[in-house]
């Protein structure tokens, strides 16, 4: 397993963990008793994740190319470019989807809270989908 493979796997799980924590934080806003411990815990975990990520980058000597990390050599750069190209397409579709959802929501007389929840869920699912897509495409092109 190359360094780039390791960092891709690490990033995949860190992003998943961060998304779950963000969902917990968002959910905590709606619970009757504000779980302060949850917010503190989430903040501590997010900081720990960022520190661990920074330490790993230095430990593994991760190189970067034009601001894109985990590129051990020119083939990795090639794979990264292909993956990013696919992700840009997905992001565009996601934005069109968001426009479509906003058009539908604007005619439903929903409360601000309902609109906020819908948009949060949509963005959360989009980020989760893109994270999975990144990992899947990287492994597909790496073979």
């Amino acid at each position: 397993m190359t360094t780039s493979d390791k960092i891709i796997r690490l990033t995949f799980w860190i992003t998943n963990a961060s998304l779950v924590l963000m969902a917990l934080l968002y959910w905590s806003n709606f619970s009757d008793i504000t779980p302060t411990w949850l917010m503190v815990l989430t903040f501590v975990i997010l900081v720990a994740i960022l520190l661990a990520f920074s330490w790993m980058r230095r430990k593994w000597g991760i190189k970067s190319f034009k601001g894109i990390y985990w590129t051990d050599d020119e083939r990795d750069i090639d794979i990264t470019m292909k993956v990013h190209s696919e992700l840009m397409k997905s992001s565009l579709y996601i934005l069109y989807g968001l426009l479509f959802i906003l058009m539908i929501l604007s005619n439903q007389n929903l409360s601000a809270e309902q609109v906020s929840i819908t948009i949060f869920v949509y963005v959360w699912l989009s980020l989760f989908f893109e994270n999975v897509q990144y990992y899947w495409l990287w492994n597909k092109y790496k073979k």
Binding site: T2, S4, D72, D73, E74, R75, D76, D78
Partner: protein, 65 residues
């Protein structure tokens, strides 16, 4: 594009890992190039040729040639 890296590498008694280290890429990249899955850049092709003490022409040929 076809390449003869395996033949030249074996002639020089180099492993994929050793060749990868000489030219500054990962072993996976050498495997991909040897299998014809990845087409190296011109600078890498020259590095490979230099490492295997041959020319780019000897290492790579176009399929229709």
């Amino acid at each position: 594009m076809k390449n003869f890296i395996i033949d030249h590498r074996k002639q020089k008694k180099l492993t994929q890992d050793e060749l990868a280290k000489i030219v500054g890429v990962t072993r996976q990249t050498i495997i991909s190039i040897e299998k014809g899955k990845y087409k190296p850049s011109l600078p890498l092709a020259f590095k490979l040729a230099r490492a295997l003490q041959t020319t780019v022409d000897e290492l790579f040929i176009m399929e229709d040639e």
